[in-house]
């Protein structure tokens, strides 16, 4: 079915477009972009094709389908927290046409068999695309390389042991060399376990007052520096996940200035909340890396502004309500984020920190280019993956309306301004906010 998206402001940073254009979609592809479009066959009475579906997008932003490059879908193995079906539904509701799914499933995605399983499940579910990330090491144990070549054939688009850091620098070096060979970026969870162990929140005056063991910023910084050095040595593409410290932002900035192939992402909770949010012991604030200081939040915003941080990714980490219903130390770390990511990112637009175009770029052209996938653009001939945003749509984050199976979000009850109002994959509407 043909679709005409009419009257919207098309923002496609991949093509440098930011103006009012209509979008014509046919056979699941972008057919044309143009002002005041009319589809030729619109009024032909003998045309066997159904009339084009009209999407009125006045007041909305029409962007390439958003890509969340850091998501935990929990299937196989942890279906009680989330399944591929519920996770992709949450993604669609959040405005995402593709997500990069991490490998810390059970069994770990360290073989082509698991990669194939995930892709098959996603294909059966339909809707948002699943881009698998393969493990760096077998079982995420950090000892031996996983079957990277096999997984690459099966369709992974990157390597990560996320959940875990790769503690052994020698193994990280080999993973980077191997990844470089296959043109797979290494997505790194930077955390020195020996400095962070036992910690449940940022180490600082709040952890001291709350009597909780803290994780010093240094635990992240030393690994960011280490990985940048290894990236320089190996020529690999290093992508730093969930940057949470000011120093990490500085390290990435300097590395880019030196021409090292490093990219980085920030999660909405790290540019929205500080460690003060932990007061009261709400376990939905427990996350790894933890919420840090106001100065770190400011540095992350500055990093997003000047392009040091290329991507906004949610690190969507569902946990069952009973798991989070424990004392702070016992509760698992992680928060869902697919359905609040865009709303929180748009706060930066409303605060005047990022333009709409910058925000769109961090969800489209940049993550797509890091993962080497042909998404993130509305170039004619591309798959018609489209995200339609209303930057002024206000709503309250409510557990009952979230599509994710889990509800572990510290943003429950927040009023957000800005959301996806329609999501299309291959020209099919997979989500519409009525």
């Amino acid at each position: 079915m043909d679709i005409l998206i009419r009257g919207g402001r098309v923002i496609d940073p991949a093509q440098g477009i930011d103006r009012h254009l209509d979008v014509w979609i046919a056979d699941g592809k972008i057919m044309a972009l143009g002002p005041d479009m009319r589809i030729p066959s619109q009024h032909a009475p003998d045309d066997p094709r159904p009339a084009p579906h009209l999407i009125e997008a006045q007041g909305c932003v029409v962007a390439p389908g958003f890509l969340d490059m850091h998501v935990h879908l929990r299937e196989p193995g942890f279906e009680y927290k989330e399944t591929i079906a519920t996770g992709l539904a949450a993604a669609a509701a959040g405005g995402f046409t593709a997500v990069a799914a991490m490998a810390n499933t059970k069994p770990v995605n360290d073989t082509p068999a698991v990669t194939e399983f995930m892709l098959r499940r996603a294909a059966a579910v339909g809707g948002t695309r699943l881009l698998p990330i393969g493990a760096v090491s077998v079982g995420l144990a950090g000892e031996e390389l996983a079957e990277i070549g096999g997984m690459h054939k099966a369709g992974i688009v990157g390597l990560s042991d996320d959940g875990m850091p790769v503690m052994n620098p020698r193994l990280m070096r080999r993973a980077m060399e191997y990844g470089r060979m296959l043109e797979l970026p290494v997505l790194s969870h930077c955390e020195d376990h020996r400095l962070s162990s036992g910690g449940v929140m940022h180490e600082g005056d709040v952890s001291t007052a709350l009597g909780l063991i803290g994780v010093p910023a240094v635990a992240e910084n030393v690994m960011v520096y280490r990985d940048i050095q290894l990236a320089e040595l190996t020529g690999a593409h290093l992508h730093i996940q969930h940057v949470s410290t000011a120093e990490a932002v500085d390290l990435v900035r300097r590395a880019k200035e030196q021409g090292i192939t490093v990219t980085a992402e920030a999660c909405p909770h790290h540019f929205t909340l500080t460690h003060e949010a932990v007061q009261g012991y709400d376990t939905n604030t427990k996350v790894n890396p933890p919420l840090r200081t106001a100065a770190d939040v400011e540095a992350i915003k500055a990093g997003l502004q000047d392009g040091t941080l290329d991507v906004i990714a949610s690190d969507h980490a569902p946990h069952h309500v009973s798991e989070k219903d424990q004392d702070y130390a016992a509760a698992p770390a992680g928060m869902i984020g697919l359905e609040t990511s865009v709303g929180l990112a748009l706060r930066l637009y409303h605060e005047g920190i990022l333009s709409l175009s910058q925000i769109v770029a961090k969800y489209t052209v940049y993550p797509a280019s890091i993962l080497g996938v042909p998404h993130g653009t509305l170039r004619v001939g591309s798959n018609a993956d489209v995200t339609i945003l209303d930057p002024d749509y206000t709503y309250e984050v409510e557990a009952t309306t979230l599509r994710s199976r889990s509800k572990n979000s510290p943003f429950l009850g927040w009023r957000l301004r800005g959301a996806a109002v329609a999501t299309l994959v291959s020209g099919e509407v997979i989500f519409e906010r009525l």
Binding site: D205, L212, Q326
Partner: protein, 309 residues
């Protein structure tokens, strides 16, 4: 002051008490101390009330103190010791709370090795929750009895300096005392090896040092904390011997202090490690008075939370 009413309130920490409320509680203590001095140590004030001591961490001292306090007020006191296992930790907490809710306890006294547990329970239970110690976070009744002990000796608290020595980072007694003393206008200095002084401690309005010999000179009272060499599998100082050399309150160290200095300890003591036996038993020691006052303070608290005004 006449507008203060603590009935039905939780006592989760000193954090949530104002200076006026702390004074209010301390002012209520003397008649309860008197009851404990009688031959028949009982009044019918809380007759028919059910107090549940829910202790997830072993404790004889605090639990006994709460039990005696409740019984002297004629309440029915039930002690529940719940063993924590890492597997069922979460289940125990939620299930136990809901069971107690169903049994209509009038007040729940909780001790747990994890910070924030009383807060979690208070969210589910309409009846008051008293924090008897949550991990390294707070032990509010300890701070109240410590303050009462000092006030009893000095008449006033404002302007006095207290030195707390030991594993400050891991101590809920230190935290609650720091908060309480600062609220009441006292000076606090915390002392211990650098490895045991938490980051950002100065933000709590206290001085911090690793030099015991210098710090003791300015103290009106010295509070010694029991020490553990290992915490969460990590060794924080080379040996108990080295620790004692630097941080044990010996008679020699005590001589450097002001005359009339008071020696405190929340107990249990490791004689010879953080406190010399002769100092623990000496004239400056108010350690046993702390214990006596503990019962009285807890009686006053139960009375104020459950029905006194």
């Amino acid at each position: 002051m006449s507008t203060i009413d603590l009935r039905g309130r939780d006592l989760l920490g000193i954090e949530s008490l104002t200076a006026d409320e702390i004074h209010y509680i301390l002012d209520a203590v003397p008649p309860f101390k008197e009851i404990s001095e009688r031959d028949i140590k009982k009044v019918p004030t809380l007759r028919g009330k059910t107090i549940i001591n829910l202790f997830f961490e072993p404790s004889t001292r605090t639990r006994t103190s709460f039990e005696i306090a409740g019984k002297r007020l004629s309440a029915d006191v039930i002690n529940i010791s719940v063993a924590t296992s890492s597997v069922s930790k979460g289940e125990s907490l939620r299930d136990t709370a809901e069971n107690l809710q169903a049994m209509q306890a009038d007040v729940l006294v909780v001790r747990h090795s994890a910070a924030g547990v009383p807060h979690l329970l208070a969210r589910y239970l309409p009846s008051p929750v008293i924090n008897a110690g949550d991990g390294a976070h707070e032990h509010p009744t300890q701070a109240l009895l410590d303050l009462y002990t000092l006030q009893e000796k000095w008449g006033t608290l404002t302007g006095h300096t207290v030195l707390i020595v030991g594993d400050i980072a891991a101590s809920r007694v230190a935290r609650s005392n720091m908060l309480a003393m600062r609220k009441l206008g006292m000076q606090v200095c915390v002392c211990g090896p650098r490895t045991m002084l938490p980051i950002g401690i100065e933000q709590m309005g206290v001085e911090c040092t690793s030099d015991f010999d210098t710090a003791i000179q300015g103290a009106d009272a010295v509070m010694m904390l029991r020490i553990q060499r290992e915490r969460h599998g990590e060794v924080l100082f080379p040996s108990l011997q080295e620790y004692s050399e630097r941080y044990c309150l010996t008679s020699e160290r005590l001589r450097r202090a002001k005359s009339g200095v008071l020696v405190m300890h929340p107990g249990p003591m490791n004689r010879g490690v953080e406190i010399a036996p002769e100092v623990a038993d000496g004239l400056e020691s108010v350690i046993l008075t702390q214990v006596t006052n503990g019962v009285a303070v807890r009686m006053a608290l139960l009375y104020l939370l459950l029905g006194g005004s």
